[in-house]
Amino acid sequence: MAPVLDPMIGRYVRLDIDGTPHRIYFEEAGQGIPLVCLHTAGADNRQFRHLLADPEITSRYRVLAFDLPWHGKSTPPDGWEKTEYRLTTASYTAAIRAFCQAMELEKPVVMGCSIGGRIVLNLAIAHAAEFRALVALEAADFQQPWYDTSWLHRPDVHGGEVCAALISGLIAPQSPPVSRHETLWMYMQGGPGIFKGDLYFYRVDGDLREKVKTIDTGICPLYLLTGEYDFSCTAEDTLRTAAQIPGAQVQVMKELGHFPMSENPAKFSEYILPVLEKIATGSGR
């Protein structure tokens, strides 16, 4: 019997981010318009495995999902043991642009979720002309913190288990149990302090209030989609953000939470396929 293989292929690419050499893991599938996918804080590219395996998408998109440095199978930079990891607006933006450049992607679409959604807003603010379209999932210019991140990295609490338990409530109750627990498993596997380091960007460094007003969707279309069960980035947070950006297209997704692509892939398809159709045909402009 022939082996049953998923369609995506994983590889490593060597690149420099702000002068530091990195070995970045990514998976890709499909042909056509480059679509770069950005995972959530403390997670990795496996969140996009269903998109990478959806022929309706890969028939006209070249889907690429990479692990941020320090995440998944991307190697932390040499000397990592002597530093405390902290993601910033600048370092995150540099990582995405370095990946797109190293892979020689021409005007890719970038779709990011959570911190990935927030940084997509920064791409729209600062680098819109480099992208064909931007899709921000579970994104807002700012959102109220709902727990103390010091619990995420300390010797008397298991980091993986507490990260997963905290974010478990952001998954919609309608999500299939198998998908829910696969999403949680990825959070249980993050490196020590990495989720906390990502949230430095989310909570401290990446406040985009006021800045989102400068986004010009005439240069690059912007789509915002947020799950109704996401109480971290609420639907109200996203709608408030979209209201400040003329031309931004916004949708609240029913029966979805903070991890739409991994917590309920079938339900997410109902929302993301029409968006990708608009981008591919240019009908969203």
Binding site: Y147, A165, L166, Y229, F231
Partner: protein
């Protein structure tokens, strides 16, 4: 049935969930859960309820307290809760619940406690 009466069914609900008891097997703690104005004192031993005392207890020592309004618990325990009422931290973020005391045993066993406090969702009376 008022929310406190639902929570009073916790011993049978937890005893009926062997997997949850298994996941709490490292846990020994005294804690207080308030359902509206009614306090409950829980003694947990290896993930099982050794005691559940309803009502005020003078000078009862506990590690931490989780308190929520009657509305918070009622909406949290719907079989398919609405957005913003579906998770313990959704409740605290909206100000309908709070956590106080030494939160370490709570955070060390967070999924266990979230699932424990959601058990009344299984009662037909809460839906």
């Amino acid at each position: 049935m008022i929310p406190a009466d639902c929570f009073a069914r916790l011993p049978e609900l937890l005893a009926g969930d062997a997997d949850l008891v298994r996941r709490g097997r490292w846990l020994d703690v005294e804690c207080r859960i308030e359902i509206g104005s009614e306090p409950f004192h829980l003694s947990l031993r290896q993930g099982a309820l050794a005691a559940l005392e309803r009502g005020p207890r003078l000078m009862k020592s506990t590690s931490f307290t989780v308190r929520g309004t009657d509305e918070a618990w009622r909406r949290h325990w719907r079989r398919m809760p609405e957005p913003g009422w579906h998770d313990l931290f959704a409740l605290t973020k909206r100000g309908a619940a709070s956590m106080e005391g030494d939160l370490r045993p709570l955070l060390q066993n967070l999924q266990f406690f979230k699932d424990l406090l959601a058990l009344p969702r299984r009662l037909p009376e809460t839906n």
